[in-house]
Amino acid sequence: MTQAPDPLALPSPAPASRAPSARAWLRALLGSPVSAVSLLWLVMVAVVSAFASQLAPYDPLQNNLNALLQGPSIHHLLGTDELGRDVLSRLMFGGSTLLWGAAEATAVALLLGVPAGLLAGYSGRTADRLLTWVADLSFALPAFVIVVALAVIYPQNVAILMGALGVISAGGVLRFARNLTRAARNELYVDAARVAGLRRRQILIRHILPVIAPPLVVQAFVGMSVGLIVLASLSFLGLGTNPETPNWGQMIYDASQQITSDPWLLVPAGAVLVLTVMALNFLGNAVRDLAPGTRPSGRARQPRSRRGVGQRDLPAAGGAGPAQPPAGPLLRVRDLVVTFPAPDPAGTQTVVDRVSFDVAAGETFCLVGESGCGKTMSVLAVPGLVPAPGIVSGGSVLFDGAELAGASARILGKVRGSRIGFISQEPMTALDPSFTVGSQLREVLRRHAAIDRRTARARCHELLGEVGIPDPAATAKLFPHQISGGMAQRVAIAIALGGEPDLLIADEPTTALDVTVQAEILDLLRGLCERRNMALLLVTHDLGVVADICDRVAVMYAGQIVEQGSAEEVLSDPRHPYTIGLLSSMPGAAKAGIALAAIPGTVPVPRDWPAWCRFEPRCPLAADACRAGAIALAGLGAGRLSRCARVADLAGER
């Protein structure tokens, strides 16, 4: 049998939101040409099959011994078969048995499987276990073989054979519906409905069924496609349908008997069957991709497009430029631009906009700002790790004199790990789950130094000890899922240190950790930087971290640096309303009896960035000057920079 889409390959059931309205949904579905053509084809096949007796030019069973095995002609558009019967007419009649049979199997599977799945997913353990057991049982049956075997008793009885297929397939539907229901019942609005005292049946029908319906529609398409192939295979074997009623599978068998005399006969029936199965599969996939809470099966979605703001609106490069740190920079980033492709006419969307900063050897430099400011993209660009389809489309990244922006994989490979280390935000996902902690660390160590296994092992334990892991030998043997988040972050740091880098880039290294662990990791990082004279480029949204560990800081907002200076000065004497906002919304700034301040609104997505001051919509000091045009990053002396039209009015604001 041809492999039909595997039902378990469907997306993990995670309905996140309510289904959209049916009309919007249909419009989205038909937006893709493939789905539209598929739907059109299926409708055509259904209509032609339903009205075959009116539409067909000939009687499909009418022999014509004067017109045997003729090729396509005016009289017989698709030719005639070995008995002179019109192929087109036989095709038109040949769909209905297959479609009805497939529909029957699908309907039986859904009618048995969905209610049982709802019950299993929503009721207690006993019912769930029993039903899942039955489902597993049916899942382990050789379905096609059983249907063939039943033909010994019920030869050519489509209703019984396809009904049996439906019963066996119901187990798969049951399991699928159960998992969807399980996921849906844990959603908050279902909890709310339960607390509000709705009855179980009401909850199931009104709240759970609509959420699990779209994936079940996908199941219906899969079922139809499998049913068609099964019935066509049965007919090809001569077991499915009465030879007197033509169907596509039977026609392919007939054609196979004539391949030496008339190979053409294979084409029409094969094409119609393939196109119908393809249309069902494509539509099933399209429905799956549209289902709420599921991810498209393709590549990662591209970020939303940016409209209206063109390149001309970009501010000129900061005239003053960041002040040179005294030691001469190890890393020198200038006018860095990171863009993602966007479907709109401009074609790109800028997420990092002319960012410039320096990091001196041994220095700790922070990029701070809310989520969505472009901090992470800015630092990922340094070792060339901006995720596709994003690109560094402008600017320069000079590391120890070498240009890394747009550098080849070979050059980047030489720098990564050995000169620049990297730690990411989520320690648990930053380690490969399939390998032990020690094996990952040793692999990195051996990449950077020509050492034998024994030395690598010793070095590995030494490093794990250095990052504060109490029993390095035992920990090295563990898999990532066996250690805590704090331990995992220590391991990630050890891996980043494996090549003895001069610069460590840490992207929110403490965000995912417990508060107590956060302080430990920060202490560890500070200690490591001091001991190794290693520079640290740290991304954080936490000003407490800045105060704790940083020498200098750049505040980012909406893809731009809005303020920069020494950490002490920026925190004690902020020169940008955004920094002031961040500072006053820190819990530490709270005064008893006064509500904690917060910056109203959120960081806009890139396409909504204003052409003037990007913070203006949220700024308490916004004035006409702020809307006059893009604001430049201006030097305030002593290494201080600010991008604010009203910077003069800010002095003494706090």
Partner: protein, 309 residues
């Protein structure tokens, strides 16, 4: 997990054995008239039934069928009167050869193809997806007929039908090329699609970026880490495909006239030979159980979480 499956396997086989036995009870009238037809005299029919013990009470027949099945005795054919077990054992190597070769082809082509598609976004990937959509929808029997037409009838490169035993490996392989191609084509593309999406998922993971950031070269990251993490979904798919192969073999053996289990099953169905059909179904069920078990064991071995501490 694997142990759970093993525990499940026993009742499952019991249910299948019971269900296949009662297939016989669905025979209209009695077996004698079913086989011998309407022309047979009542005495002939009685003699046929008595000869096979089919006139005994149902429960007694069930008991002896089940007892026999456990010992590996699946009864006597109604038409050839030879032991069913013997017929099945003679046919099994054909089906197993077909399935084994097909799965080798599927894995050896599907995994690299899917990986390549994941690494080459753009037109090549889209063309691959279109081809895969077509390949998955193409019925294997249609492809089989077309292969016979082009590679056997027209060019005589391969035999159109027939099977030679493993005694002559070259002949054996030669005879199985077309059936294996027909069987494997759609499933290869379907596995490649699975590998492609698993690969795209894995390549977007944080740890892949971390490995790159630590200076590991692209090839090591791809072949050691990314492929390793794709294996769990791939193994599950391969397990499903092995089951699909057993079903596909029923059609393909018929088409290429291979004397395998599928041919035995279809012959039993067309000749109303119920014991032969029962035996074939039971043997297929045993294969399903074994494949599921192997899949679970392999998936567990690949997943450190399931391996325990």
């Amino acid at each position: 997990m694997a142990l759970g499956r093993l525990v499940l396997a026993v009742p499952m086989l019991f249910v299948v054995a019971t269900a296949t036995f009662f297939l016989q009870q669905l025979v209209p009238g009695n077996p004698g008239s079913f086989i011998l037809g309407n022309e047979a005299s009542p005495a002939e029919i009685r003699q046929f039934d008595a000869g096979l013990g089919l006139n005994k009470p149902v429960l007694q027949q069930y008991g002896s069928w089940l007892g026999g099945a456990i010992r590996g005795d699946l009864g006597t054919s109604w038409t050839s009167h030879s032991p069913v077990t013997q017929t099945l054992l003679a046919a099994a190597p054909v089906t197993l050869s077909l399935a084994a070769l097909a799965i080798v082809v599927i894995v050896c082509l599907g995994v690299p193809l899917g990986t390549l598609a994941a690494l080459r976004p753009g037109p090549a990937d889209r063309a691959f997806q279109g081809l895969a959509g077509f390949a998955i929808a193409l019925p294997n029997f249609w492809l089989g007929v077309a292969l016979v037409l082009f590679l056997a009838v027209d060019t005589h490169l391969f035999p159109a039908t027939g099977y030679t035993g493993l005694a002559d490996p070259a002949q054996w392989l030669h005879a199985l090329v077309l059936p294996v191609l027909a069987l494997a084509f759609g499933m290869t593309m379907s596995l490649a699609l699975q590998v492609r999406s698993a690969m795209i998922d894995v390549l977007a993971k944080d740890y892949i970026r971390s490995l790159h950031a630590a200076g590991l070269q692209g090839r090591s990251v791809l072949f050691k880490h990314a492929l390793r993490n794709c294996m769990a979904p791939v193994i599950t798919t391969v397990g499903f495909q092995l089951l699909g192969l057993l079903a596909g073999a029923v059609v393909i053996e018929q088409l290429f006239n291979l004397p395998g289990l599928g041919s035995v099953l279809v012959a039993g169905v067309t000749e109303h030979d119920v014991p032969l059909v029962q035996g074939a179904v039971l043997l297929f069920a045993v294969f399903v159980v074994v494949v599921n078990l192997l899949t679970d064991v392999a998936a567990a071995a690949l997943n450190p979480r399931a391996r325990g501490r």
